[in-house]
C-alpha cells in the first residue's frame, strides 16, 4: 500500500510531466477476476529479476526449485494421505530438463516417458528401469526390448504393440507384466479415443482376455489418461468408477489380479485457458480436491474387492502440468513500442511463441518487474518472430512500457521447455534458483555452434559462392 502511494506521488513530480488523466482507484474483484495491472514480479525466490537478467541475459527462463518441490510434495501428500499405495510419476514430456526431472525424482517421483528418447534420457539421469512408466503410441522393438529387460512398466496402446511385446518377451524368456491403456467416455471430458483400447466397444475386454491367454504377458495394471487441463474433478471420479468396474470384470474373466490403476495426468495448473470465462483462481481445483475425488471413488470402487481379501490396487499418477507450471517463469525485455492502426498499443518483446509455445492456448499472467508509470491501456504483446502469429498476449491492460523494461510470464513450466522451437532465434539460458539461494544455469543458451552442430555440408556445397573462390586465387 505504501509503495503504491509513493508511486502516486511521483506522478506529480514536475520533472516527469504526464498528461493529466482520470484514473479509477479500484482493483477489487469484478466479473473478469481481480484487476491485476498493478501487480509486479520484482523477485523470484528472493533473487531480483533484474539481477538475473544482468547475469544470464534476456530472454531467460527461471525455475524455482523451492516452488517445484513444494508443488511436488503437496500433490504427493494430497494422495498419500487418502490412499495407501500411491506412485507419483513425472511426465517427462511436460518438461524434461535434467534439473527439473532430478528434482522431482528426489521427491520420489518415477519417470513417465512416451518415447525411446525420453526413456533414454531417464536412464541417463539415473532412473532405474523399474521406476519408468513407458506410455505412448509409438514404441518400437528395440525400445520395448530394453524396457522389458529393465522392468519398466509398459502400457500397451494397440494390439500390434501387444503382439510385438509378446514376441520380445518370448525372446527374453520372461513373463512381462503390462498394463492396458483404456479410453472411454466419462461424460465430463471429450474422450481421447485414439489412445489405447476402447472400453465401450468391448475392445478393451478382448485385449484383456488376449493378455490373459498369453504365456509371456501378464496383465498387471490398467491405465487411462482423460486429457489435459481437466478442471472438473467429477471426470476423475467417473474415470475411477469405470476403471474399478472394469478391473472387477477383467479379474473375474481372466483370473488375473490387477496390481495398479494408472489415472494418467491432466490436472490443471493455475493458468488461464483462452476462451474460458472464469479466472484460474476460481476454476482450477486444488491438489486436495483432485485427490479427494479420485480417492473417494477408489475407496468406494474397491470396497467389495477388498472384502474378498485382495489388497487395494496401487494408484499411479502421471502429473506434469500441475507440478511444474508455476515453478517456471519466462523473463522477456521490451524491444520496441508502436501504435497499432486500431489504436491499441503494440509492444515487441525479445521472447515469442518460439519460446512460449503455450501462448497459443493460454493467456499467461504477465507482470512487469517494476511498476510502470502511467495508466493501463490495452496492449498487444508481440514476440520477435517475423510472423503474424507471434503473439504473446492478444490483449492486456498495462501502462506503457519503455524499451528495456522487463516482463515476467508465469506459469510457463509446462510444455514450453520441451515444445520450444529453435526458429529464427537461439534458445536462451534456463536458470534455476536453488533452495539455498544460489542460481545455476541448467541449460546454456544456444549459439551458432549448437545450431549447426548436427549439420553436414556435402563437399560440393561447402562454399556459398564457388565461382568467387577461383577469382580469389
Amino acid at each position: 500500500m505504501n509503495k503504491s502511494k509513493s508511486k502516486l506521488y511521483s506522478l506529480t513530480d514536475p520533472k516527469h510531466w504526464i498528461a493529466p488523466t482520470i484514473r479509477l482507484h479500484g482493483g477489487g474483484l469484478n466479473k473478469f477476476g481481480a484487476a491485476r495491472h498493478h501487480l509486479t514480479t520484482e523477485k523470484i525466490d528472493g533473487v531480483p529479476v533484474a539481477e538475473l537478467v544482468s547475469r544470464f541475459g534476456s530472454p531467460l527462463f527461471v525455475i524455482s526449485e523451492k516452488r517445484l518441490r513444494e508443488n511436488a510434495r503437496r500433490l504427493k501428500r494430497a494422495f498419500a494421505t487418502r490412499w495407501p499405495q500411491v506412485i507419483n510419476a513425472w511426465s517427462y514430456k511436460t518438461n524434461y530438463l535434467g534439473a527439473v526431472c532430478n528434482t522431482l525424482h528426489q521427491e520420489g517421483y518415477w519417470a513417465e516417458v512416451v518415447s525411446a528418447f525420453e526413456y533414454e534420457k531417464a536412464r541417463l539421469l539415473g532412473v532405474p528401469g523399474n521406476r519408468i512408466i513407458f506410455n505412448g503410441p509409438c514404441k518400437l522393438r528395440a525400445a520395448l526390448r530394453q524396457a522389458a529387460e529393465e522392468g519398466a512398466r509398459i502400457h500397451l496402446d494397440s494390439l500390434d504393440e501387444l503382439y510385438l511385446l509378446e514376441e520380445v518377451a518370448r525372446e527374453l524368456g520372461k513373463i512381462v507384466p503390462v498394463a492396458m491403456r483404456l479410453n472411454f467416455d466419462t461424460g465430463y471430458t471429450d474422450p481421447w479415443s485414439r489412445f489405447g483400447f476402447n472400453l465401450e466397444t468391448g475392445q478393451a475386454l478382448d485385449c484383456a482376455r488376449r493378455i490373459g491367454a498369453s504365456s509371456h504377458l501378464r496383465l498387471a495394471g490398467l491405465h487411462t489418461h482423460l486429457g489435459t487441463f481437466v478442471t472438473d474433478t467429477r471426470a476423475y471420479a467417473a474415470a475411477v468408477r469405470i476403471l474399478t468396474a472394469f478391473m472387477d470384470t477383467v479379474e473375474e474373466q481372466t483370473g488375473t489380479v490387477i496390481e495398479y490403476l494408472d489415472l494418467g495426468g491432466g490436472f490443471a495448473s493455475k493458468n488461464a485457458m483462452q476462451g474460458v470465462y472464469l479466472p484460474p483462481e476460481q476454476l482450477v481445483p486444488s491438489a486436495e480436491q483432485y485427490a479427494e475425488a479420485v480417492c473417494d471413488a477408489l475407496m468406494a470402487g474397491t470396497r467389495e474387492r477388498e472384502a474378498r481379501g485382495l489388497t487395494r490396487p496401487t494408484l499411479i499418477l502421471e502429473t506434469g502440468r500441475a507440478v511444474v507450471d508455476d515453478a517456471v517463469s519466462l523473463v522477456a525485455s521490451v524491444v520496441a513500442n508502436k501504435r497499432l492502426p486500431d489504436g491499441r498499443r503494440g509492444t515487441v518483446l525479445d521472447a515469442g511463441v518460439n519460446l512460449m509455445f503455450t501462448a497459443f492456448w493460454y493467456n499467461h499472467d504477465v507482470r512487469p518487474v517494476r511498476r510502470p508509470d502511467g495508466i493501463a491501456e490495452e496492449t498487444v504483446l508481440y514476440g520477435p518472430m517475423c510472423m503474424n502469429i507471434d503473439v504473446m498476449r492478444q490483449s492486456i491492460q498495462i501502462p506503457p512500457l519503455s524499451v528495456g523494461d522487463l516482463l515476467v510470464f508465469n506459469p510457463v513450466g509446462a510444455y514450453n521447455n520441451t515444445q520450444w522451437l529453435q526458429f529464427i532465434e537461439y534458445r536462451p539460458n534456463v536458470a534455476m534458483v536453488l533452495e539455498n539461494g544460489k542460481v545455476e544455469v541448467v541449460r546454456v543458451r544456444e549459439d551458432l555452434a549448437v545450431v549447426i552442430g548436427q549439420e553436414r555440408l556435402p563437399p560440393s556445397l561447402s562454399l556459398p559462392f564457388p565461382e568467387e573462390r577461383d577469382a580469389n586465387v
Binding site: R73, R77, T81, R82, N130, E150, G151, E288, M299, T311
Partner: protein, 735 residues
C-alpha cells in the same frame, strides 16, 4: 506315500521312553534336558530305598495317567509329584509290604490331587500347582511314626565342614530326599548344566532364606527347610518370570518368605507328626507370583509358558526389539500417509493425569500445518483427511453432530468433539476424537476392521486446529483412564529423510510416521505353508556342496516352526506384514542359524531399512569367542543387526543385506554380513554369511510339499545351480 509313517523301532521307542523318564527327573528342577535329569536321577541313589520308592511311584503315576488318558500337562505334573511322593515314602518308611501298599495309595492320591488341582489353580489366577499335590498326599499318607532317615546311604560319609556350604549342598540334596552333600553337588551340577542363572538363583535364594533363618531362629536345622528357599528363588526368579532386577529382588523375597512359612508350619505340624516338606516353597512362590500378577512393572510373568531364564531373556529381548514395551495395546496407524505427532504421551497440553496415554496427529509441512492464510479450516493440511479404524472391534459409541471450530477456537463443553469409540478384543476401547462434523461413516454396534475408513479428520471439541486424537481407555465411558498403546508396522522418518521400518513404535512429539503397506509380491514370495519342504545345498569357505533340508511344521498349539532334518528348529510368524523368526531350539545347526540371521525379521512392506536384535548364539563365533560370551553373558548376548533391502531388476530379485554386530566387550566388535536373495516365485533362493574371511553359502535347489491324506507329496527343482550362480555374481544396479 513317500514319507510312510512306520511305527518307530523298538530301540527308538525305548530311547524315547528313557528320555521322557529322565526329563521327568529334570522337571523337579524345572528343566527337561535328559542330561540334567540323569544327574538328578543319580542323586536320588544316595539312598537306594528312596530311589526305588520314587521309581515305583513313577510307574504307578504312568499307569494311572495312561489308563485314564489324563491330559499331557497333568501327566507331567503328576510325574513330578509322584516321583517326590515315592522318594519321600521310600526314604521315611521302612521297607515292608504294608509300606509298599501305602506307597501305591500315596502315589495314586498324588496323581488324583494333581488332576484336581491343576485346572483349579489355572482358573484362579493362572498359577502352577508346583509340588503342592505331593505335600498334601504325603501329609495324608506319611505313617504316624515315620522311620528316621537311614544314617548311611550309598555315598561315602565325607566330613564336610559344617556351615553354610554344607547346609546348602545338603539342602539341594533334600530336593530329591537325598540329604547328602555329594547328592547336593550332583543336583547343583544338574542346575548349572541346565542354566547357570538357575544355579545362581538357587545359591542366592538359599542365602536369603539362610540369613532370615539365622536371624529369626538361630539353631534350627537348615537343610530340611533350606531346599524351599532355593526352589522358591528359582521358580520366581527365572522359571515363571523373565529375569531382571525386579524379578531377582522378588525371587530373594520369595526365598526369604519361605523361611518364616517353614518355621510356622513346623511349629503347627510337629505336634501331629508332620513335616512342612515343600509347602513353604509352594506357599511362598504362589504368594509372590499371585501378587506379581497385579504389578504393572518390575516383573514380567510368564505363567503360561514357564521356561529357563535364558530362554525368557532371549524372548524378552526380541520382544523389546520388535514389539516395544510389554502390556502396550497394539494399534495400526489411524491414517494414511505421513503425519506428525502434535502431542505425545504425557504431553504438555492435555495428555496428563488419567489421559496421559494419548497421541495427537496433524500434518506439518515446512513448519506450518496449513497453506494459504490458515483462516479457513480447509487451509489446514489435516482437515478432511480420511481417519481409519486403528484395530478391529465393535463400535460402542459415536458422536457426529458437533460443529467444527473455527481455527484457534476451542469447544471445552464437548471437549472430545465428534468421536468414535471402538471396543477392542481385549476389552479396552480405542477412541478417535475431534472428527469432522458429519464425516462419521459407522454407527454404534457396527463391527469395523483395522484400516477401514470410518471418518474424516476435523476440528471439533477441544481442538484449536484440525488434528486427530487417539487413545486407548479402560472402559466404555467417554474419558475413562487411558492405557499405554503403540502403533505397529510403521515407517518412521529419521533425521536426513530416511524412513526406517518399525514393527512397533510409540512416536514422540514432533516425530513423523506413516503406516507401512504390504507388498503383495513379497508376501507371496515369503509364504511358508505347513508341510512345505525346502531343499538347500550348503558349503563353507568354498568347499564342496552338501545337502540340507528343512520343513515347515505346525505344533499342537498351532505354532509354525521351520524344522531342519538335524532336529534344529525355529518358530516363525507370517503376519502378512512381516516374517519373524524366534525361539531357535534343538541341536547346533549353522545353516538354520544362517537363515535366521539373513531373514530373521523381514517386513513384507514398502521399506528399505530396519533393525533387529537376534540372539548372539546364532552368530558363527569361534570357540574362544563362544567361551568368552559364555563367561561374560550368563543370560545371553544379542546382536545389533541392521537390514537393508533393494530390488534388483536385472536379476529380478530382492537383495536383503544385513550387518550383524556382536559387541563382545566395550570397544570389541565382531561383524558378520549376511546377504539373502529373495525371488518373487521361489522365495529365499540364496543366502551367504561372511565374517573375518570365512564364508558360508546356502542355496535353494528344490521346493517340495509333504504328503497329506489324499494329497501326494511333490518336489520341484526350481533353478539350476548355475542360474543361482549367475544371480549372485551379477553386479546389477542398486535400485
Amino acid at each position: 506315500m513317500q514319507t510312510s509313517e512306520l511305527s518307530p523301532s523298538f530301540p527308538a521307542r525305548l530311547a524315547e521312553q528313557l528320555r521322557d523318564f529322565l526329563s521327568g527327573y529334570g522337571a523337579v528342577v524345572f528343566t527337561v534336558r535328559p542330561a540334567v535329569g540323569a544327574l538328578c536321577f543319580a542323586a536320588t541313589w544316595a539312598f537306594p530305598s528312596a530311589a526305588l520308592g520314587g521309581m515305583i511311584a513313577i510307574a504307578i503315576s504312568a499307569l494311572l495317567s495312561r489308563s485314564f488318558v489324563l491330559p499331557e500337562e497333568i501327566r507331567r505334573a503328576a510325574f513330578v509329584n509322584a516321583l517326590l511322593t515315592g522318594l519321600a515314602l521310600g526314604a521315611f518308611q521302612p521297607v515292608s509290604w504294608p509300606g509298599l501298599v501305602g506307597l501305591g495309595l500315596a502315589a495314586a492320591t498324588t496323581v488324583w490331587l494333581t488332576a484336581a488341582l491343576v485346572p483349579l489353580f489355572w482358573r484362579n489366577g493362572e498359577l502352577p500347582v508346583l509340588s503342592l499335590p505331593f505335600t498334601l498326599a504325603l501329609w495324608l499318607w506319611l505313617p504316624a511314626l515315620p522311620a528316621s532317615l537311614p544314617a548311611i546311604g550309598m555315598l561315602p560319609r565325607t566330613e564336610f565342614a559344617p556351615g553354610m556350604m554344607a547346609d546348602f549342598l545338603t539342602s539341594l540334596g533334600w530336593i530329591f530326599f537325598s540329604p547328602h552333600p555329594w547328592a547336593g553337588i550332583m543336583v547343583f551340577a544338574a542346575l548349572a548344566l541346565a542354566s547357570r542363572w538357575l544355579a545362581w538363583l538357587a545359591a542366592s535364594g538359599f542365602a536369603a532364606g539362610y540369613i532370615v533363618l539365622a536371624l529369626w531362629a538361630p539353631g534350627v536345622e537348615v537343610p530340611p527347610l533350606g531346599f524351599n528357599f532355593a526352589l522358591a528363588a528359582m521358580a520366581v526368579g527365572g522359571i515363571y518370570a523373565a529375569p531382571g532386577m525386579g524379578t531377582f529382588l522378588l525371587a530373594l523375597f520369595a526365598a526369604a518368605l519361605a523361611a518364616p512359612i517353614g518355621l510356622t508350619l513346623s511349629y503347627w505340624l510337629r505336634p501331629i507328626g508332620l513335616f512342612p516338606l515343600s509347602a513353604p516353597f509352594v506357599a511362598a512362590t504362589l504368594i509372590v507370583l499371585a501378587g506379581a500378577r497385579m504389578a504393572a512393572r518390575g516383573i514380567n510373568l510368564s505363567l503360561a509358558q514357564p521356561a529357563l531364564p535364558e530362554q525368557h531373556a532371549e524372548a524378552m529381548r526380541l520382544e523389546a526389539a520388535r514389539l516395544g514395551p510389554r502390556g502396550c495395546v497394539p494399534l495400526s496407524a489411524p491414517f494414511l500417509g505421513e503425519w506428525q505427532v502434535y502431542q505425545g504421551f504425557d504431553g504438555e497440553h492435555t495428555h496428563r493425569g488419567p489421559w496421559r496415554y494419548g497421541l495427537d496427529f496433524f500434518i506439518v509441512e515446512d513448519g506450518r500445518s496449513f497453506s494459504g492464510e490458515g483462516r479457513a479450516l480447509a487451509d489446514y493440511h489435516a482437515f478432511g483427511l480420511p481417519v481409519l479404524a486403528p484395530a478391529a472391534g465393535e463400535v460402542m459409541a459415536v458422536r457426529d453432530g458437533i460443529a467444527d471450530n473455527a481455527p484457534g477456537e476451542v469447544n471445552t463443553r464437548e471437549n472430545w468433539g465428534n468421536y468414535i469409540l471402538i471396543r477392542l478384543p481385549g476389552g479396552a476401547c480405542a477412541l478417535l476424537a475431534h472428527l469432522r462434523q458429519g464425516s462419521v461413516t459407522v454407527a454404534q454396534g457396527v463391527w469395523v476392521k483395522a484400516g477401514e475408513v470410518v471418518a474424516a479428520c476435523g476440528n471439533s471439541g477441544r481442538s484449536p486446529q484440525p488434528h486427530l486424537h487417539l487413545h486407548v481407555q479402560d472402559g466404555r465411558a467417554l474419558g475413562s483412564p487411558t492405557r499405554p498403546f503403540q502403533l505397529v508396522n510403521l515407517l518412521l522418518r529419521e533425521q536426513g529423510g530416511v524412513t526406517d521400518w518399525r514393527p512397533a513404535y510409540l512416536p514422540a512429539q514432533g516425530e513423523r510416521v506413516a503406516p507401512a503397506h504390504p507388498e503383495p509380491a513379497l508376501v507371496q514370495a515369503l509364504a511358508l505353508p505347513a508341510g512345505r519342504r525346502l531343499y538347500f545345498e550348503t558349503r563353507a569357505n568354498g568347499g564342496p556342496w552338501s545337502e540340507w533340508e528343512a520343513e515347515v511344521k505346525i505344533t499342537l498349539a498351532g505354532q509354525t516352526r521351520l524344522t531342519a532334518t538335524s532336529g534344529a528348529s525355529a518358530a516363525f510368524v507370517h503376519t502378512g506384514a512381516m516374517l519373524a523368526f524366534f525361539d531357535r531350539s534343538g541341536p547346533a545347526d549353522p545353516w538354520l542359524d544362517l537363515l535366521l540371521l539373513a531373514v530373521g525379521l523381514t517386513p513384507m512392506t514398502n521399506t528399505r531399512h530396519w533393525r533387529d536384535a537376534p540372539p548372539a548364539r546364532l552368530f558363527p563365533a569361534r570357540p574362544a569367542m563362544r567361551g568368552w560370551l559364555w563367561l561374560t553373558r550368563p543370560l545371553g548376548a544379542f546382536l545389533d543387526s541392521t537390514y537393508r533391502r533393494t530390488w534388483h531388476e536385472t536379476s529380478a530379485a530382492w537383495r536383503q543385506s544385513a550387518i550383524h554386530l556382536l559387541a563382545s566387550a566395550p570397544g570389541w566388535q565382531t561383524r558378520l554380513e549376511t546377504i539373502a536373495v529373495i525371488m518373487p516365485e521361489a522365495g529365499l533362493v540364496h543366502a551367504t554369511a561372511k565374517t573375518g574371511g570365512r564364508l558360508w553359502e546356502i542355496r535353494l535347489v528344490a521346493i517340495g510339499q509333504s504328503a497329506d491324506e489324499g494329497i501326494p507329496a511333490w518336489k520341484n527343482a526350481i533353478l539350476s545351480p548355475n542360474n543361482i550362480e549367475k544371480l549372485i555374481n551379477h553386479t546389477g544396479e542398486n535400485t
